[in-house]
Amino acid sequence: MKLLIKNGRVVDPANKIDGVLDILIDKGKIISVRKNIPAKACQVIDAKGKVVAPGFIDMHVHLREPGREDEETISSGMKAGAAGGFCSIVSMANTNPVVDKQEVVKFILRKAGEEGIISVYPVGAVTKGLKGEELAEIGELKEAGVVAVSDDGEPIRSSFIMRCGLAYSKKFDLPVISHSEDKDLSQGGVMDEGVMSTILGLPGIPRQAEEIMVARDIKLAELTHGRLHIAHVSTGGSVELLRQARKKGLRVSAEAAPHHFSLTSEAVKEYDPNTRVSPPLRSHEDVEAIIKGLGDGTIDAIASDHAPHSLEEKEVEYGLAPSGIDGIETEVGLALNVLYYEKKIKLVEIIKKFTTGPAAILGLREGTLSIGAKANITILDLEKKWRVDKNKFFSLSRNTPFHGMSLKGKAVMTIHQGKIVYNNETSTV
């Protein structure tokens, strides 16, 4: 049966549409977008007062399968994604085994296909075993279906190997996603270095540990003409480096994570291990710089860096806890609450960060409501007030510093290829 979404405010940055329109969907494709489509022989969704956007893409997600299925499976991660408002998620390569072989890519795609509710696009490793020593068989990984390569979690220490990764990936038109961290400088740091780390007596990570690597990788992108994407930008200095690189016309893109624009290192004060994340929560100035970078287009995408961790692993001394925030189900709410309501960034700009932004970086044919496009749709209720409850997560893990926080604005329905895969009213995927 056809699906008709009526009377919503349709915001489609790719087609420069922003107005009250109806959308008709048939056989998983968008077949019409216009005013007053008659409801004949179709299921009708009343979207009055809501925003109808192209299906959201989260380009940085850690599914823990294979390896740590107790923390997240491909299936549970997809459900969490659907509940968070996402039609597509991009899974990082640092599973166990690492996504450095075709078989692992095929495994992920097969599992994702069986679950089916949303799309999963795997990222392959840049180097074998994420060791930073030899390039992985990037050509084979591309054939199997990866949309980018990254050693995320393990920065590539050797400038030469990073150069090779950027250069070699050009052949396959794949972006190299950089987790920018100079590990020699960050040492055993567990939080931002500054007055808070001094007061708390926790080893700090200076922002320069990120900025040195961002600068290095931009220089290597200049050298190789490769495609560089900087993951989870956390400092104002990185935003500035990216701004300069863009001015020069380099093929450099970037993403920011919700926790880096909504929390500062002040949140570490009570030693809650759920605030431990890599890169760490930074200062107020950094938060402002990231928001500015999102506003002026220096940062292309918002991505959760969804990193589920088990309770056993997180309920320990701060310095022993693994880094990461289980973030995909709070991501859109934080973006709307902080960027739209508090910082007055235009809605269309925020929607770009979840649609055209990541789609362009990864070469995905989605993130638009064009006629004939896949009927991936995210419906937002900008007025909806809700409270984050980690116990209601679809994710298998609960490691969030946002539990109990009140937010305004939420993704209330997710439609993937014409099928409703999440409905907030029934809380079902």
Binding site: E193, G194, V195, M196, S197, T198, I199, L200, G201, L202, P203, G204, P206, E270, Y271, E312, E315, V316, E317, Y318, G319, L320
Partner: protein
């Protein structure tokens, strides 16, 4: 004043009035340790567990004696002999101990924030006996108590803390306590041992001991660890001691009534010379004596 706190996790969260109340309470407890029968029944029937994940002689013994002199029952557990070596987590260890109906846990741990974590896991009172590079509140209190005893008042006192500031929990507890009571604090160390943003805690920073030694009322000297040298933070103990060691020669430039303190254990010949250790203005052993009284006062206030 009415004491309301259940835990002692650090001096940062205490009000000046609360710190003074601990110091005043300490005054009344000190006398007990000078009696022939060093025991009062104040905490009879209470059980206190010393949970030490790091080696310690002074602090652990001091807490244990303090508890015993108040008639509490005490048990000591060190990480080497506990289930921690079998992989038990801090949370589980603490909850198992608590299941035996105890009233307080005194914890020493190499990880900053471990006592805070513990205080969220258990119902018992948690006393921080030193956590990582964060705080060592009872050491801070006993240092301040000793300064107040010798100098009459903390307000307006000029105190230099010398040494490995970045890794020192003693420094942080001293800074919070001294600043709250109105002292002026200068931290003295090579730039590599000064943590970022420490000025925002209200202290002055100086890289030269010679510049400040003539101007201060108290020198509180910290232990320097050889492993910091291997970490690249300074070239050698020899050079460190030449630049920051307190020698009889350097002490000549100090005020006549300067107070020289050290939380121990001392590396003689590195942070200070044997001659300085034996100088009448050096009060290291009195600090240790006061430590027992401070801990009696803390246990009494938290468990009364």
């Amino acid at each position: 004043m009415d004491w309301k706190r259940k835990h002692l996790l650090g001096l940062e969260e205490l009000e000046a009035q609360e710190i003074e109340h601990i110091l005043d309470t300490t005054d009344s407890f000190r006398e007990i340790s000078t009696r022939a029968i060093k025991k009062v029944p104040t905490l009879r029937g209470r059980t206190i567990v010393n949970l030490f994940f790091e080696p310690s002689t002074r602090t652990r013994t001091s807490f244990e004696l303090a508890a015993k002199r108040l008639s509490a029952d005490t048990v000591s557990i060190s990480a080497q002999t506990s289930s921690v070596v079998k992989g038990e987590t801090l949370k589980d260890t603490a909850r198992n101990i608590e299941a035996m109906q105890i009233d307080a846990i005194i914890v020493r741990h190499s990880m900053s924030g471990a006592p805070h974590f513990l205080s969220r896991c258990v119902e018992a009172s948690v006393i921080n006996a030193g956590d990582g590079c964060h705080e060592h509140p009872t050491q801070g209190l006993l240092d301040i108590f000793t300064m107040r005893e010798k100098k009459g008042s903390i307000k307006g006192l000029k105190v230099a803390i010398v040494g490995d500031i970045v890794h020192s929990r003693v420094a942080r507890s001293n800074i919070w306590g001294l600043k709250k009571l109105g002292a002026e604090v200068i931290v003295v160390a090579p730039p590599t041992l000064i943590p970022m943003g420490i000025e925002e805690m209200g202290v002055k920073v100086c890289f030269s001991l010679d510049e400040v030694i003539g101007k201060v009322d108290v020198l509180n000297i910290l232990r320097i660890q050889l492993e910091r040298q291997k970490g690249g933070l300074f070239p050698s103990l020899r050079e460190y001691s030449r630049l920051y060691g307190v020698t009889a020669d350097r002490l000549k430039k100090a005020k006549k009534d300067i107070l020289v303190m050290h939380p121990g254990p001392v590396n003689l010949g590195v942070e200070l010379t044997a001659e300085v250790a034996n100088d009448p203005r050096t009060v290291i052993l009195e600090q240790v004596t006061n430590g027992v009284a401070i801990r009696m006062a803390v246990l009494y206030l938290l468990l009364q």
